[in-house]
Symmetry: C2
Subunit: 197 residues, 2 copies
Amino acid sequence: MFGPVIDELIDALRCLPGVGPKSAQRMALHLLDKDPRAAGRLSTAIEQAVERVGRCQLCRMLTEATECEICANQRRQPDLLCVLETPADLFAIEQSGSYRGRYFVLFGHLSPIDGIGPEAIGIDQLLQRLVDEDIKELILATNLTVEGEATAHYIGSHAQALGVGVSRIAHGVPLGGELEYVDGGTLSHAFSSRTLL
Amino acid sequence: MFGPVIDELIDALRCLPGVGPKSAQRMALHLLDKDPRAAGRLSTAIEQAVERVGRCQLCRMLTEATECEICANQRRQPDLLCVLETPADLFAIEQSGSYRGRYFVLFGHLSPIDGIGPEAIGIDQLLQRLVDEDIKELILATNLTVEGEATAHYIGSHAQALGVGVSRIAHGVPLGGELEYVDGGTLSHAFSSRTLL
């Protein structure tokens, strides 16, 4: 409404996840009116990140170096490898502080309908690592969706054929989750995966 | 967590209104992983906007030209002027399509505690316009807060001294608002401002 430059800014902001027309407008006005210095900083940060961030050659995670900090960290357990679908999953696990091994990020899952085969998500690279390195346990932490399960199954069977131990993270009722509000699929999974005490 | 460039991007995204650490992280990963082309576009759009967007010399609205599209539009009623606190208010009124006059944007409200006096929000410029132009009605559309009301009162009394007609937009129960869910302040305002049929 107020000339092509502002309209373009509002439109460009809508590429961000969870940002609709109203939020984009509010963000644009905030950047222009309240915080032009932050706007300059944001523009530079995006430019720098797009230019300098690539993939780790070992785990495919986003990083500025050839190897990400986790792969380069000698204090990480070298014989534990956790397979994930997205970098966001990696952030979540790191923030929980519950895992001290290394990762492998698929950036997606097997999806033959969309033409996404094993190579597209780096499974060949992953299996090569299982051959080259001395990995004792491969933890499959793909999502509990049809595609995530299929991907886990595919990787799991190939890894077992290479003689590597394979595990799957537990799925069930979340901590603090009240049974009343948990969906049926999760409940039935929690029952079928129950453990003897 | 993954090097200074990504951390700086996540941090810079938090300057956007309504974006906390989790959303900023999701946005950064989206820009880097899923949509690097949109990231480039966004960075350019912000840079361009900060560089080229200034204020309209008549109404103080954000614009790329010396006069904004509304002030330059000859089909707008020239004798109606609406006073607003923020550009977002202007967007909202324009999108409702309920007003065909011109605007004056204060970019704030009177706030002596923060050292914001009449000059800081352009009231001198506004009163000069009332002297120079043939304005029949000044519509006060500042917010119904203590500061907004004080600002409206200040502008209103000065405008009346100049012989200009002054009005205030109506405040009351919103359309579709159920009385049960409307706050007490709004309800008491709706009663005290009731109109005879």
